[in-house]
Amino acid sequence: MRPTYDTRTAPTDTGGLTLPVGRRMLAGMESSINLSTVDMAVRIGRLTLRNPVVTLSGTCGYGDEYGPFMDLSLLGAFTTKSVTLEPRRGNAPPRVVETAGGMLNAIGLANVGLERFIAEKLPVLSALGVPAIVNVAGHTIEEYVKVCRTLDAQPAVAGLELNVSCPNVADGLVFGTDAGALGELVRAVRAEVRRAVLIVKLSPNVTDISRTAAAAIEAGAEALSMVNTFVGMAIDIERRRPVLSNTTGGLSGPAIKPLALHMVHRVYRQVAGPAGIPIIGMGGIVTWRDAVEFILAGATAVGIGTALFIDPTTPLKVVEGLRAYLASRNILAVSELVGRLERGR
């Protein structure tokens, strides 16, 4: 049972945030606590992350690409580019286009395929010193099951994230937008995955995301990552043609943050919170302030995606900003902030 909030509790600083931190406050301590005292660890199912900031599928390659730019072992977790049973070339270019406050992409799940992923990419990934979540996509339930079963047998794989929401392939959205089909898929995979944590990445391209969230949880998802990109398009008015060769693409970046935040809030309140299922919140996060918003809305962890393209060290800046925020408010553990949105004015 969640603690009830006493809204009369005095704020711990002038930030105006009124968290019930009295119980955890160090006795008699007026100023902020030491940064190193803040417990940044979070749990995603059976997986413990050293901090709540993860990198997102399709924005950080297979592990070695950002090695020169940052110490990847400082991440909470790393999520790979989607892996499919067979290699995929992906879509013809143009594959991306910048839009207001974000970008559209239609890569088309270009990847090396399961066999080469295990032979060439997984050894690199396992040497990073960070929990590796492998994003899995497929055409059919059988394909998902085969890939997940094979990867579950690899000790280097800490988590499996089902990509049921890629908007850029012909069959990508089927599982993500139909709660019945999604439940069936998750159940089939659940039966085969024994070791890795099973995460389902939800599509925002639905009428009511709580329904697909509930279906995934009911079928055995241990965590939800949300949300994937929003379907969108851009048109070249000179050529009178879509800019992307795929016509449509997935919108990401700060432009989608309010939409994604709302969906995390809704699913946390209606489904995931009551069920005790953690949410990895994502969608346009660039700064630690964005991360705090997602955590307050109900995310246990947060994902950085498109922002990596601009600055690969963004996750580390978010971790440090988040830690300082917590310390300045005498909050001893980031997990205490999850879903702690105040009601009323």
Partner: protein, 313 residues
């Protein structure tokens, strides 16, 4: 002259840097030359590029000129101790470069790099022909410096639509630029400073010879067969131009390295947007995708399936 010692593929050397604008002045009607001052910039070589954030590095990501970084080839690099100056020569074409054009000396910009694979200078080819068109000329300027410094006999072939879209400064009076394609002279300041002679042509004849650079270059090859037999050709510019230059080289068996341009979001091999079709006999369709940012931007011309080439599906 800055011969960079470290391996260009040393990925441990890349990072995000804050650079100070030292100068940002028009070179011609369409192009600006931005000089950036950085501390501790890693070793880099001609053909490599940087990704510049065309927005205030401290501001929100949607403020300023552009959201994702923009790639720019390095047009020159000078070192003094730990300090480094980069030349970025750019054409104003969209919100990012428009924002760049407004930068005043002293302000800071965020630079990611150096990125990509550089040109190679094989030891057994003593001649280097540099063929650049328009905004493809900047990497040629730096390559001219480096190639001349390691003893190559360098000739530059420069093309643009017209004199006011050529990002180079004539040495002396414009009307003194010779019209003959067969006699390169020290006519363009950016190349002449390294002792590199150049041939200039413009589509409208407003500077140098009237015509397009592939034609001028091809006629030069025909009249200098002995010299050309010992050359490597380096080229950068619009892809139809690259394709014509590459074709002339292939007919004569001269190795040709092309520096390609693609739309890219990251420049680090993760966004997968800057794909180039590369011939691959082991593939059922005869080609596979490589990334312009990490596999290129410099490719062997014989490997490239051109954008307008009908090939496979």
């Amino acid at each position: 002259m800055h011969l960079e010692a470290r391996s260009p593929t040393d990925r441990g050397a890349r990072s995000v840097f804050l650079a100070a604008v030292r100068a940002n002045d028009p070179v011609c009607r369409d192009h600006y030359r931005l000089i950036l001052a950085l501390a501790g910039f890693p070793s880099a070589q001609p053909g490599q590029f940087v990704q510049i954030l065309c927005a205030d590095p401290e501001g929100p990501p949607w403020a300023g000129g552009a959201f994702t970084r923009r790639p720019f080839s390095i047009g020159g690099l000078r070192r003094t101790g730990n300090d480094c100056e980069l030349d970025i020569i750019y054409r104003v074409i969209g919100p990012g470069t428009k924002w760049l054009a407004g930068l005043r000396p002293g302000v800071q910009v965020s630079v990611l790099g150096p990125l990509g694979r550089p040109f190679e200078l094989p030891a057994d080819r003593p001649v280097a022909y540099l063929v650049g068109g328009g905004v493809g000329l900047p990497p040629m300027i730096w390559l001219a410096e480096v190639a001349a410094a390691v003893g190559r006999q360098v000739v530059a072939f420069c093309g643009a639509r017209s004199a006011d879209s050529l990002p180079l400064r004539p040495r002396g009076r414009q009307d003194a630029v010779p019209l003959s394609p067969t006699e390169p002279t020290l006519c363009m300041e950016e190349f002449a400073q390294w002792g590199v002679p150049a041939v200039v042509c413009t589509d409208d004849g407003t500077l140098g010879r009237r015509g397009r650079v592939p034609e001028v270059f091809t006629s030069y090859l025909a009249s200098h067969a002995d010299e050309a037999a010992q050359a490597v050709v380096y080229t950068c510019g619009p892809e139809p131009m690259l394709r014509l230059v590459a074709r002339s080289c292939e007919l004569l068996g001269i190795p040709c390295q092309v520096c390609l341009e693609r739309t890219m979001a990251c420049g680090m091999g993760t966004c997968q947007s800057c794909v180039v079709r590369i011939r691959d006999a082991s593939d059922a369709q005869g080609w596979r995708y490589q990334l312009c940012c990490t596999d290129g931007p410099v490719f062997d011309s014989r490997a490239v399936v051109w954008q307008d080439e009908k090939w496979g599906t």
